[in-house]
Symmetry: C2
Subunit: 329 residues, 2 copies
DNA sequence: TTGTAAGCGTTATCAA
DNA sequence: TTGATAACGCTTACAA
């Protein structure tokens, strides 16, 4: 049995297709006819054909979410919250993972996906890839986790986040301060966010007369923690060292090593993470919170706003980190 | 300036739209006209409109990849490989993340995404959600990481994987055998894969007369390793215990604890992981390999095959695990 | 407030 | 091998 079309609905309810379309899209129709039409729609189980709708010039109500290979809790929670708001507003999210530079080029050359969208969110991507010369979305774009004055964008004040971590660790009495960062040469990713955290941290230290040098910057990797030895030596060689982990993941590595070495967090050493991932509370990890849900939601609001009221000024939205103080610092 | 359409191409090259369409879709056209048309396409920078194409009954060349919230290396590598083959065959992947049951229901009630696809791959999802009664894709479906005789599917022999791990650990001389599994009550995920690994492991043990009970099953969590204390006690209390980590991630936790406790893998204890994630070689972790790239590619082949030759029999494709023997066992 | 009909950009059918 | 033309299912003037 064929799927019912707008014509079927029209003839069953004894009106023209235009009227049905108006019912569907919120045009002005008499209440009694609206009800008639709705009944017919219900009875037939009619679902508008998006493809036809798009071709006829309607909106797709579909938003593209461009993301690099991100497997962090942070990004998933942002995405979930983003999607939830979209859903509430009757929009739909389509994800396009940018595994590689090549895939991004493909997106540029093959506009079929872009033809189908009302807007796009570009997530945590290197600014150089975002230039209009590189990809012309010909559509509404909001950047997430990068700054730009060419596009609307949503980001967190990472410099401030770094400063807050530094301030707290000094307050705890640490004089030897370390940063655990990560080692990644993925050119697609926006690494500026990490750099800013380090910048905030070190500049605060400098202001307060503390020393920081490259040696105190420890590298690990996102999914295979590789800094065991370095961490073990920091924990055993220094007196109450202060450690700033640029992501909660990295802090976990420290906690594990410490647990095995019988070092007590908040006493033998101090530790501040970043993100406020869901497990950190249970673990008692002090961390710099990013308001993931708010950020995701705001991104959704922004893109929908742009779609529905075109031609607005570019809006940068800056979120502020906040301190979740728990046992480790 | 408006985008050029097929009509523009037709008139510029002095042929009918039908001919242009045939050039585009591989119908039979005289070589000289083909060249003429190609030149016009090039000159205008013409790109076919996918939406119109779809409405007119053409294929979208778009495949939906339905996935739960998976942040593992395994799934991303499978996805990459899947996507790469699709790309080669001029198909396109669209990801639909199933954050929750609710989102799956939404997919069912809102067919706009499904209207746009030629086929769907359903990844690592609980079989109960896959019943035709629940979602009618009305399209070609291939299951990844679940078994079914209703759908084509691609999966690994996890029972065999478990057996291989057991065999190796016994061969190493361990008499106390442990499994590290994970604690997850996400009802959307196909947990059968983990259960089968355990089944294979324990049944082999039983055959060989080894004892295994619930106490030897240690639970941790995927992204926040929570089994520190259990692992520490296993490592210190037993003589050369054998540990089977149901995913390489979990093995990492063991390696870290061991490193801090000065226990030497492959000597003081034996450890077998699962997946053969990229970092395991560097870490010297013995592991049960899943051929991720092959599996992703095969999944792509299968779905394209179904699309292009409809009405075939249901094909289950079983992959075999293999042992990557390194330092830890 | 309504119905009619002209697009939207393709593919597919059918004569020529 | 071709060109003309009828779908495809919708939105949106325009006229009634």
């Amino acid at each position: 049995m064929k799927k019912p079309t707008i014509k079927d609905v029209a003839s069953l309810s004894g009106v023209g297709t235009g009227t049905v379309s108006r019912v569907l899209n919120g045009g002005s129709v008499k209440e009694t006819t609206r009800i008639k039409v709705m009944k017919a729609i219900d009875k037939l189980g009619y679902q508008p054909n998006q493809v036809a709708r798009t071709l006829a010039g309607g909106k797709t109500k579909r938003i593209l979410f461009l993301m690099p290979e991100i497997r962090t809790e942070f990004h998933w929670r942002v995405m979930k919250s983003f999607d939830e708001y979209l859903d509430k507003m009757n929009y739909e999210m389509v994800i396009y993972p940018v595994f590689s530079d090549k895939r991004l080029k493909k997106l540029r050359s093959d506009p079929s996906l872009i033809q189908n969208i009302d807007g796009a969110v570009i997530c945590t991507m290197n600014i150089e890839f975002l230039s209009r010369k590189y990809i012309d979305f010909g559509t509404n774009v909001v950047l997430f986790e990068s700054q730009s004055d060419e596009f609307d964008c949503v980001y967190l004040d990472n410099v401030l986040g770094g400063r807050m971590a530094a301030e707290l660790l000094i307050e705890c009495g640490s004089t030897d301060l370390f940063v655990i960062s990560f080692d990644e040469e993925n050119t697609i990713l926006a690494t500026e966010n990490f750099e800013k955290r380090i910048l905030g941290f070190t500049s605060y230290l400098k202001e307060k007369g503390y020393e920081f040098n490259e040696e105190k910057l420890v590298y690990t990797s996102f999914f295979f923690e590789t800094a065991h030895e370095r961490i073990a030596s920091i924990l055993s060689e220094y007196d109450r060292p202060g450690i700033f982990a640029l992501a909660d993941n990295f802090a976990l590595e420290v906690l594990q090593m410490a647990s095995a070495m019988k070092k007590i967090p908040g006493k033998d050493f101090f530790l501040v993470g970043y993100d406020n991932q869901s497990w950190t509370e249970r673990a008692g990890l002090t961390t710099i919170e990013q308001p993931m849900e708010d950020m995701g939601r705001k991104t959704a609001e922004l893109i929908i706003q742009k779609i529905e009221n075109p031609g607005q000024y570019v809006q940068p939205v800056k979120f502020l980190p906040s301190l979740k103080r728990r046992k480790t610092a």
